[in-house]
Subunit: 313 residues, 2 copies
Amino acid sequence: MNKEKTRTEAFPARLAKAIVAKDSRLCVGLDPRLERLPEEVREQAESATEALKRFCLGVIEAVADLVPVVKPQVAYFERYGPEGLAAFREVCKAAKAQGLLVIADIKRSDIGSTCQAYAEGYLGPLSGQPEPGLPWVRVDAVTVNPYFGSDGLAPFFEAAEANGKGVYVLVKTSNPSWLELQGLSLPNLENVAMHVLGLVAQWGRKGVDESGYSYVGAVVPATHPDEAGEMRARAPRTPFLVPGVGAQGGNLSEITSYFDVEGQGAVVNVSRSVLYPEREEGESWQAAIWRAAARFSDELNAVLLAAGKQTGR
Amino acid sequence: MNKEKTRTEAFPARLAKAIVAKDSRLCVGLDPRLERLPEEVREQAESATEALKRFCLGVIEAVADLVPVVKPQVAYFERYGPEGLAAFREVCKAAKAQGLLVIADIKRSDIGSTCQAYAEGYLGPLSGQPEPGLPWVRVDAVTVNPYFGSDGLAPFFEAAEANGKGVYVLVKTSNPSWLELQGLSLPNLENVAMHVLGLVAQWGRKGVDESGYSYVGAVVPATHPDEAGEMRARAPRTPFLVPGVGAQGGNLSEITSYFDVEGQGAVVNVSRSVLYPEREEGESWQAAIWRAAARFSDELNAVLLAAGKQTGR
């Protein structure tokens, strides 16, 4: 087996294969908040960061055979400074070791050499030539913020291309105040978010691999299903990351338009509703998490089938 | 002296006093890139993060009597993971110990409890009640990204208000691709950046202290001087952080409109042109940095005086 080739296989193809292999389009968001962790995890840990790590390792163990990808949110780790980032690194490593893809939810962006520092830190050197200490954490993709325009993203794209990684650009978010900026209407009557999606589709044009999708993806919400079809049409080669289901109010049955007829092109992220489920009598916290994840994953497949989209291995 | 009161004195007042005390409106950006550090610093350090730290401590020592504020850029530290953040924490601590204000250039934002995690991590608990481990680093203000709208910033504002800190919201940036999003024209003919500035002014309205400025500031560029006066008029109580001078092409004489008649209301950031100056024969690297910072600081005062604005103690 050619190690070199495996290492640099493009992210969209790896994600598409993992979706087929697991027959799941669910991404489990790792948003560990100390006060919400199971008591037994908190009691056994000697520090907050230790508790966060143990919890996430337990979640990873529970869902590894079920879902293709997890999305650790760096903010919950960064809150604890260097010790938090060390835990973040171990969580990402454990997920990779269990065969999961990892989308680091960092939402960074900046310009010039500053942006390059972020890109190299999370995705590896821009040249694809190994460099000691880069990246500092092993992930498959990151989320980024488009406010700077392409200057604030180009180093991420370059590092992704060089190292077989992916980049999901924030396009439209699931919070009420999305309207204040993303929702501004432009003279051509489209809003800023739709305009940004058009840019994302352009930026990703040359990065399409054999899966039919680009390494430049978009974060789009589950909370505005009326626009899902329009967004898919506007960016047919752009893989979508769809948060907002569960605690944030989005409904699985309304987001089928984000997927293509083969049930590819998107993953749906659920965080809180999977991480902190109601436990049945005598059920372990990990079993409850497995059950919640299985339920979302199965429901998503069911609604896709009902919409005439293929799932299954 | 009432410690409690000193600790929670609002950021705008503290910045205004520091500007008067040092008679300087210069912010030194701490953007340490290993390959650009003085040879003697790199040779003496046993690791990259050690070199970064030593360099920044040397810069802080050199400019502490000259400028009111420094702006460490977290990306250059985060590139090295946990060890990098540990160095970042020490750099911020050293700056505070030398009497400098610290603006952490993090450009974060997210929604809900994720945003809260960032806000608490950098600015302290939202309630103002001490909480162990918060914040993980001692800074006076942060930069944030407005793409989410107010939901993605509210926890930062809350933490800033509770702990006497400041928040600078990205409004318009100095890179060419600012046009792609910030430069989009809205139907009323203003662009997205100017609209965001209007929001920033609104968000900061209740946070104005005795200095006449709010704890909600804006990042505006030195590279579009034609708009400086319009921006000041649009947001009269919003303190400005103005990057883009020096390596990025901005010219000091063209940004006087960002300042009020008393020479307050803005600080101008210079990073590369101060950190990596030409050294004169036999000059130490710290002396060269001091000289570069002094030159920018004096020039800025001179152009303000020429524009009829007051400087001096």
